[in-house]
Amino acid sequence: MSRVYNWQLGREMDYPFEGVRPEKQFAMIFDTNKCIACQTCTVACKTTWTSGRGQEHMLWNNVETKPYGYYPLGWDVNILDQHGVQEMDGPEYQGKTLFEAAPDGEIVLGYTPDDEDWAYPNIGEDDCTGSMEQGALLTMPHMQWMYYLPRICNHCTYPACLSACPRQSIYKRPEDGIVLLDQQRCRGYRECVKGCPYKKVMFNSVTRVSEKCIGCYPAIENNRQTQCTITCIGKIRLQGFISRPDEIREDNPMDYLIHVAKIGKPLYPQFGLEPNTFYIPPIHVPPQYLRQMFGWGVEDAIDTYKRASEDPQLLGAMLLFGATPEIIHHFKVEGRNVIGYDDKRAEVVRVPMREPIYMRVEYDSDLDVHRTNVT
């Protein structure tokens, strides 16, 4: 075991390998407040990558309704139950990570889902926590609630799948931090399926080896964001690279949202994998639930998010979501626009900070009609 630094936990932790960070790290931010679970991302991923034999059940990208949706069934409540109650109140995590909680003989605390658990990707869809009293009015946070959680592989800095593989068939690319599973080397032991707490490694019963999200690396290598990101009709995602915690750049939209404004929060940081997909928490959900899912600081994140219009940098970064298929490495707010640049600082997109509004008269005398929509 090595001691590695996990910035999301604010402390060092045990990990089976030395802590070597990649040159740059694949990352994604999801605005859960904008996701409508249309599953366009899911279908884009499915048709691009998992249309083959044995991949029928695989959704490398999925969107589940929280709190009662899961893919596979019960993935998070199962591992949370095994993990037990942990102290988590920041700025330093007091509880145990899944590596530190591993039972004797195991590298990481985990479980193998039942085969049938993969058969209900839409379970709990749109299910609310409960019903409202007749005549009740919603207040914030909502008394009864649900929200959508889009998920891909987190391309963790300290992947449990990678550490659990006895054959070292899983590797993390030094150039972009994408975690890949070598399809030639894997022998289908499914230690990765057991070890990944997010259950984002899946077993192919036809090829008899495991498979996982590849972070659309052929697109990434061509400076293009992932399929799930560029097809998102709600523009809820931004994919790019997060800098090392000691090399934060304020002109990197990912860094700004995650490290500076701190509105992007990791998924179950207490597991200790340092996941690299981040979520803007839903503003209407009770903070107790959100703290368990996204760690401490969710209340501040929601507060900052609600006041985004007061911070041009934050608003600018958020307007880059879904604005271009290119990966944005730098951004700048200039006058009435936010401008996104690629890694060579060439402009790739320009978005107005405020959409222009055009007003039309209610009555058109030329056509002798009344308009119902004047903006």
């Binding site: 090595s2 089976p16 034999r53 889902p113 030639q184 289908g188 499914r190 019963s205 036809v206």
Partner: protein, 279 residues
């Protein structure tokens, strides 16, 4: 990730493992000479009646993680024969369930016999500089040979699929959608035998040999597996063990009970057993 550090820790664990390796209470395994044609791949052949049985004790693999302390199989009965050209090993063990297919939570029964090839080798898949030859029989791959490789409706009868890439694309274009099959992963592509011939020089180094010479077959009946594994007695390729007549060498065994979710390092294993290929 630093693989060197990992290998160093493996090597350290290996030394501990060898020192702590339980001594199997087994007599010498005698591969008795028989007047029969090889290969000896029929577990129900009468040829095995000529060979004395040796009991081999098994212990859980507990030197490297992950491991499974609660193993299902603790004892094997082993017989061996040779005819000068082929060596055959018959391995029998009790197993209440025949596990011979794969889905996410279903693992297959397997058994392996290992021979030292080069240098003093650890009984646990060798070590750097200590090469071993491993012949691994796998129940699920035998089932493929009998029933054909399963498609999705064999595994899930109500599965609905509209079209697969290999139905509409040219072979070369469809390969990219075939996962491990498309890159010829040796556990994904079909073989002519349920026995896979492999090399190892320590954990995580198990490699399928490009030329396969071993064969075998298993029969499960009344809660017992009887598996015959056979290979040529003489060295054909580099890395082959010498099992020619008069040779005194060693063999070690490993068993996986799929029903007990034993796979990879979660297995029961034996120490080295003396093996004499008799003239």
């Amino acid at each position: 990730m630093n693989k060197t550090a990992f290998h160093c820790s493996l090597a350290a664990a290996l030394v501990v493992g060898m020192a702590a390796a339980p001594v199997a209470a087994a007599d010498t395994l005698r591969a008795v000479p028989v007047d029969a044609t090889g290969p000896f791949n029929d577990p129900e052949s009468e040829v095995w009646d000529q060979a004395p049985a040796v009991t081999v004790s098994l212990n859980p693999q507990q030197v490297t993680r992950p491991h499974h302390a609660d193993i299902a199989v603790t004892e094997l009965t082993v017989r061996a024969v040779n005819n000068g050209n082929w060596v055959g090993i018959l391995i029998e063990w009790d197993d209440d369930t025949r596990d011979d297919w794969f889905v996410t939570d279903a693992f297959g029964d397997q058994v392996a016999v290992q021979f030292p090839v080069e240098g003093p080798a650890s009984p646990m898949m060798g070590n750097p500089g200590g090469k071993v030859n491993i012949l691994q029989w796998r129940a699920a791959f035998q089932r493929d040979l009998v029933d054909g490789e399963p498609d999705i409706r064999d595994l899930y009868p109500y599965a609905l699929v509209d079209v697969y890439p290999d139905e509409v694309l040219r072979v070369t274009d469809a390969r990219a959608f075939a996962g491990a099959m498309g890159v010829d992963n040796p556990v994904a592509r079909p073989f002519e035998s349920p026995v896979l011939e492999q090399m190892a020089e320590g954990w995580s180094s198990l490699t399928v040999k490009p030329m396969q010479h071993a064969d075998g077959w298993g029969v499960w009946e009344d809660g017992t597996w009887r598996v015959a594994i056979t290979r040529p007695a003489n060295q054909i390729m580099p890395g082959d063990p010498d099992l020619s007549r008069g040779t005194e060498t060693q063999a070690a065994f490993a068993v996986w009970d799929g029903g007990n979710r034993e796979v990879g390092g979660r297995k029961s294993w034996s120490g080295w057993i003396d093996l004499k290929v008799e003239e």
